[in-house]
């Protein structure tokens, strides 16, 4: 692994209840880079995100996930978060009875150590971030994601990301369900984190978010494998023509790979 390669997935295979979903994913993200990932519904994007974060429903059968020199596969989800990984969920989960403030303070303490910030300073910072993301003040005392609208949940994911200050984040379709204004605000929030020390993987179906968060590279995931890696100009082509041409051009490889696998 070269100096600059910060996050690397090697030949990652993962199953759910015995059936393979990820079939050999390879991905390298350097420090400070932004990568975009697209792919048809059901191709395995969320599965990849969940596997990176250590979801217990998925079993890694082969491969590794290297981050900061450590193999994440061996760590519990909380340890992955503590080492600086963050996932903005496609479908955030409600935690009834636990206020946003309480949830975020607990998370912050878990990631950065309890002694490192006083409750008052924390709340001040949180309020500032909320303002930045256009999250109304009252959300501080609402229960995490409980009864939030789809868009509010997505904003809350980014608020969490800003609060926890990860070194590497994955945004799983954060843009889906956001109105045009919200998309701008959220992107602005994300860009606040962008720095030479921060890496980002943006999973999306649409070009528009990539107008605000500019990716250095684009990957296309199909049937559990990355079949194409290129520049962001390909997004336009996808937007116009869909995925058929990708299937035609690169699908053969996937199919060939599959046949080979079934022979073994």
């Amino acid at each position: 692994m070269s100096e600059k390669v910060y996050f690397e997935i090697r030949n990652l295979h993962a199953d759910v209840e015995g059936s393979p979903i990820l079939k050999g994913v390879d991905l390298k993200i350097n420090k400070g880079e932004i990568h975009a990932m697209m792919g048809p519904n059901g191709s395995g994007k969320s599965t990849l995100s969940n596997v990176i974060m250590g979801h217990p429903s998925y079993e890694v059968t082969e491969g590794e996930i290297l981050f900061g020199g450590q193999n994440m596969v061996e760590l519990a989800p909380e340890e992955r978060a503590q080492s600086g990984l963050f996932l903005a969920f496609q479908y955030p989960v409600a935690v009834p009875g636990v206020t946003t403030a309480k949830f975020l303070k607990s998370a912050f303490d878990a990631v950065h150590g309890e002694q490192n910030i006083k409750a008052i300073a924390f709340l001040k910072e949180l309020r500032a971030n909320m303002k930045y993301l256009g999250v109304r003040e009252e959300f501080i005392n609402r229960y995490m994601n409980d009864g939030f609208s789809g868009g509010e949940k997505k904003r809350m994911e980014i608020l969490q990301m800003l609060t926890l200050q990860p070194q590497m984040a994955i945004m799983d379709e954060t843009d889906s369900g956001l109105d045009i204004d919200a998309l701008k605000v959220v992107s602005k929030g994300v860009n606040k984190l962008v720095s030479p020390a921060f890496s980002l993987l943006v999973i999306t179906h649409y070009e528009r978010i990539l107008n605000y968060i500019k990716p250095d590279h684009l990957h296309i995931l199909m049937d559990g494998k990355i079949v194409f890696t290129g520049g962001s100009e390909t997004v336009k082509k996808l937007e116009e023509k869909g995925y058929d041409w990708v299937r035609e051009e690169y699908g053969q490889e996937v199919l060939a790979g599959r046949e080979e696998a079934s022979k073994v």
Partner: protein, 479 residues
């Protein structure tokens, strides 16, 4: 590693035994024993007579069979009905009343300092050791306001007119098997009287401690809030670990006159037995409040986290027009614990309102039943009830049941009932863990969130205690 693991009860932190010389009476139950108890307590004849009537009634009663509970029958002849730390036994004869240093230490270990200078601010505590109330703090402040807060025995002696008028007026000795038994053999408990228009400025609290072996604990609490008064009362309980099951059959009566309000909160953490279900407390309790006057209000809040068997239905009789009854409950069962608990709201007066919020958490092989009755009598107009009963299951060997009875005999009644059962979900735990929070704290967050509505009802320091108690019960939940 599965996340829906059975959570294992950690070692019971309060399971120590205090060495004190005790003044006890022989095991067994008969009229002579009752006479002996009454004599030990220096009671007037009318009190003894009441006890004997209750006893005779009890002889013809049988234990209720309807709760969803399974347990070894209690041998009532093999129990001791009175045990008091010896040096305290003659407390009411000798007014000097120094407390046994060992007993004092015990309460200090439980976080209840009895020394005047160390006493908790804002909380007056009546400490009950085995069968006897050993000390009551903050007496002076209360006396100045005319508030009576003492043991029932003391009240018998000093305020017989109040005892005669109110004892058994909400829970008569004919009420049910356990309440009848309690009426015959009750040893002590707390008595509170708040005069007209007085708002009690401190929380009143009782701390029960069962120490002696094979002793039943039968305390009796009576709280009267006179017109326009207010009082908030908290009861906390512990018992040492014993292999034999110990019986606890308490009776609590609350009376709220016009415009009066009583808040009654319980944090129950009796020894629950070991993981195989050996030992632990049988907790058969009758708690009932009577909203006698207009606009009166009674709120029950309970956190039931201990005892091998819990059978308990704190109830409200809403007789005064426009009176309000509330029941907020968290019941946690683990290992082999069994709880059958809930409430009864009896709407008699017009425009009476009641709210029931019940949260059951079951883990291990435990069984947790909510049983509740909402009854609106035919000539009670404009009554309302809202009930929400939520159950959370941890693991797949435990069970949760909800048994709501609704008897609305007046068509103007508005009754809403909601019930949910959920498993602590892997998705929720994963989401929380993905934010850096470990499994144990993730479970704590979910559970405390689940109980939030109930904890909100507790005075702040007790809410903190309740939160800690649940966390303690959940400790070591990682398989």
């Amino acid at each position: 590693m599965t996340t829906e693991t059975t959570f294992i009860n950690d070692e019971y932190k309060y399971g120590f035994v205090t060495e004190v010389e005790a003044d006890t009476i022989p095991k067994g139950l008969n009229e002579d024993i009752i006479r002996m108890i009454s004599e030990k307590k220096n009671e007037p004849d009318w009190m003894l007579e009441w006890r004997l009537q209750a006893y005779r009634w009890w002889l013809n009663k049988e234990e209720p069979q309807w709760p969803m509970l399974n347990f070894e029958p209690v041998n009532y002849q093999d129990l001791r009905y009175y045990s008091a730390p010896k040096k305290m036994a003659d407390r009411f004869k000798n007014e000097e009343g120094k407390i046994d240093p060992e007993v004092k230490k015990t309460f200090e270990k439980l976080g209840i300092p009895l020394d005047e200078q160390k006493q908790l601010e804002g909380v007056a505590i009546d400490a009950v050791f085995d069968s006897v109330s050993v000390a009551t703090t903050h007496q002076k402040v209360l006396e100045d306001l005319g508030i009576i807060f003492c043991s029932v025995s003391e009240a018998c002696e000093k305020h017989p007119e109040l005892i005669k008028k109110y004892l058994g007026s909400v829970v008569p000795y004919t009420d049910n098997f356990y309440a009848t038994l309690n009426s015959a053999v009750f040893t002590d408990g707390s008595f509170v009287y708040v005069p007209k228009g007085v708002k009690c400025p401190v929380e009143l609290s009782t701390y029960f401690r069962i120490n002696a072996q094979d002793t039943g604990q039968f305390e009796r609490t009576l709280i009267i809030a006179d017109e326009g008064s207010y009082v908030s009362y908290l009861e906390g309980c512990t018992a040492p670990m014993r292999d034999r099951n110990q019986l606890h059959a308490a009776v609590v009566e609350l009376i709220a006159l016009g415009d009066a309000q009583i808040k009654y909160a319980t944090i129950q953490n009796w020894y629950a037995g070991d993981k195989e279900g050996k030992g632990g407390i049988y907790n058969f309790v009758t708690k009932r409040g009577h909203c006698r006057g207009k606009n009166s209000k009674i709120s029950w809040t309970q956190v039931e986290a201990g005892a091998a068997i819990t059978w308990k239905y704190p109830s409200c009789i809403l007789e005064g027009d426009n009176s309000t009854g509330e029941f907020y409950s968290v019941a946690v069962t683990n290992n082999c614990m069994q709880a059958d608990t809930g409430t009864k709201m009896i709407h008699i007066g017009n425009k009476t309102k009641s709210t029931i919020i019940s949260k059951g958490i079951s883990a291990g092989q435990s069984a947790n039943t909510y049983r509740g009755l909402v009854q609106v009598l035919p000539d009670a107009f404009g009554c309302r009830n809202y009930s929400a009963c939520d159950s959370m299951l941890m693991g797949d060997q435990c069970s949760a049941n909800t048994v709501p009875y609704i008897e609305a005999e007046n068509s103007t009644a508005v009754i809403e009932h909601e019930a949910t059962t959920s498993k602590i979900s892997e998705e929720q735990l994963f989401y929380i863990k993905s934010r850096g929070i470990d499994e144990e704290n993730a479970i704590n967050l979910v559970v405390n969130g689940f109980c939030k509505e109930v904890f909100k009802q507790l005075p702040l320091e007790f809410a903190v205690e309740a939160t800690k108690l649940l966390e303690m019960k959940l400790e070591g939940s990682i398989g």
